[in-house]
């Protein structure tokens, strides 16, 4: 039984990791006041570039780095359009997703059906072979640890560094931040690029680790779940991490419930597919209307363009 629980937990962590990468990236973007709905597109670009580079060079490290760069490159297009050219963020973000789906399919046409080896799992002799603890904590590949490290780093950055405080100030009140001399547009550019890079990493985790292959549209809506996660986690890295594992857990548990004959307590499996979004709507309602209103607010300037008034 213990072994079985360990196996389930491992599946949950793996299912959650692509969404965690993308959600933590988007969190930083949104905390700077920018709403980028192109997460799905940036993940796909990361997935295809990560796969392609790993396959052609044989180096997974190079593949992962290229995936981050590719995601950031797509985010740069978005940033130029909405930050410099003042295009509408929602429309541009949606366009970025559609563009990413098409572009990744074009780039990946030659990679479909090519098998590669999965990322190697970490193995520390003496630790990884411990019962329970070993498989539970010390037998993932490096990207899983990277996702957690990045979440912690982002939390620390936002809370305890001066630069993090500037970023939050830009997201809460761009005018005030600008008036005391902070470079609003530059901060937003950097945040958007960081978000793109992390979405790219999330995509690469799918194409290099979860299913080591490239397939058109292989993210299958995980970018949208990542966006929902940011709201679900009310723009806090710790809660986003928790949310990612809960959403991952729901997916895995319903598969297990079906396989063991229970069919998820009699509920159709489609209900479980809906759950992340339902939960997000519930959280959104609670934080915007409930008694906790004001404590979990979205960044005040989220989605608003900023035009420096000299």
């Amino acid at each position: 039984m213990m072994d079985f629980l360990v196996l389930i937990t491992v599946s949950v962590v793996i299912a959650a990791t692509p969404m965690l990468f993308a959600a933590v990236g988007e969190l930083v973007v949104e905390r700077s006041g920018v709403l980028n709905l192109g997460v799905e597109g940036m993940m796909l670009i990361g997935a295809v570039v990560g796969f392609g580079v790993t396959m052609t060079t044989g180096s997974a490290v190079l593949g992962i780095a290229s995936a981050a760069l590719a995601g950031a490159a797509l985010a740069l297009i978005f940033a130029v359009l909405v930050l410099t050219l003042m295009a509408n963020q929602v429309a541009t973000g949606l366009a970025l997703t559609i563009f990413g789906i098409g572009l990744s399919a074009l780039i990946g046409a030659g990679f479909v059906g090519m098998p590669i080896a999965a990322l190697p799992k970490l193995f520390i002799p003496g630790v990884s072979d411990l019962p329970v603890i070993g498989p539970l904590l010390f037998q993932y590949d490096a990207m899983v640890y990277l996702s957690i490290a990045l979440t912690v780093a982002v939390g620390w950055f936002l809370k305890s560094t001066h630069a993090g405080m500037v970023l939050r100030a830009v997201g809460e009140s761009a005018e005030s931040a600008h008036s005391i001399g902070h470079p609003v547009i530059r901060v937003r550019y950097l945040a958007t690029l960081f978000g793109g890079a992390l979405a790219g990493l999330g995509g690469a985790f799918l194409s290099l680790s979860v299913t080591p292959m490239w397939a058109e549209n292989m993210t299958s809506g995980r970018g949208w779940i990542a966006l929902a996660l940011v709201v679900f986690g009310s723009w806090r890295p710790g809660r986003v991490l928790l949310g990612a594992y809960i959403f991952g857990g729901v997916t895995i548990l319903q598969l297990h419930a079906q396989g063991s004959g229970g069919l998820g307590m009699g509920l159709p499996s489609q209900v479980f597919t809906m759950l992340p979004y339902l939960a997000t709507i519930a959280v959104l309602t609670i934080i915007s209307a409930g008694p906790w209103r004001g404590r979990f607010q979205a960044p005040a300037c989220l989605g608003q363009p900023f035009r420096p008034s000299v």
């Binding site: 599946s11 799918l206 299913t211 396989g259």
Partner: protein, 363 residues
Amino acid sequence: MLNRRQFGLSVAGTAAALGVGPMVGRAIAADKLKVGFVYVGPVSDHGYSYQHDLGRKHVAEHFGDRVETTYVENVAEGPDTERVINQLAAGGCGLIFTTSFGFMNPTLKVAQRFPKVKFEHATGYKRAANVATYSGRFYEGRTVCGLIAGKLTKSNIIGYIGSFPIPEVVSGINAFTLALRSVNPQAQVRVVWVNSWYDPGKEAAAAKALIDQGADILSQHTDSPAPIQEAEARGIYAFGQSSDMSRFGPKAHLTSIVDDWTPYYIQRVQAVLDGTWKSEDYWGGLATGTVILPPFNPSIPEDVRALATKAVEDIKSGALHPFTGPIKDQSGKVVVAEGKTATDPEILSMAYYVEGVQGTLPK
């Protein structure tokens, strides 16, 4: 959103169908037959649409300069379908294959407008004087897989990854289970539905869940090779789907259920050239080469291989019908009486699990 491949969010498909992507060839000299194909997915999917396009390529090869083929890929099932089919018909195609269930009504609509053009619609059930239908008896291949699984399983638990609970998939699960238990009455099938034809991440997670529950052989009715990869990584066996997936798991891959439309496409193009084309309902299986099984894994023992090969021959000759009574559903009720076989309409509307499948069929 029932039958046939819906490749995720088909935003790209819509964009393509709006005329951004596909190029429809120009009308050519009148003595050539122009044959059009409409696909729901990309030809690069290495699955359903890929196999149809392979058929198209073979048609082009077989008839040389007597025919010209053209195709439109990534066509969303919806308002765009009709426009694409209409464009092909108006562009001079004499024969048009529409290869997805959701293309049914648009095909009939356009067929009315072009009575001289012949249409062939895959996996549908509505016909007209110039609209024929065709499909594959994929369940015949499942029977052979079930026999192999029954002989090879040690845990007596088989994991089955389903896409949507439609008759095509359910009849496959049942044919597999009946064959499985005919050689191994202890064995059981656990089904997990992923509600997608193609979601590698979810298929991999489903495969993991089933393996964690003790399955030592996987079967799938989804199109990505993710379950095969998972089986390879965990050191168990698996059956592939749609195309030969052996390169994704050389050790795990036992065989695949492959749809091969080539013989049918060549036959129908020939009929149009000869002027003998008639609207029919065609349902081909192992005997017609519509369903084929790629070479068995060399690690399958000789006696199991012989059993499977004999089953293929018997199904081809008609000596073995995958749904031969007595067949009981999960509640123990006899659904096909002893000495009888399930009729085609019964197979095409199958909405129950046979004994030996765990769990309840989603409604």
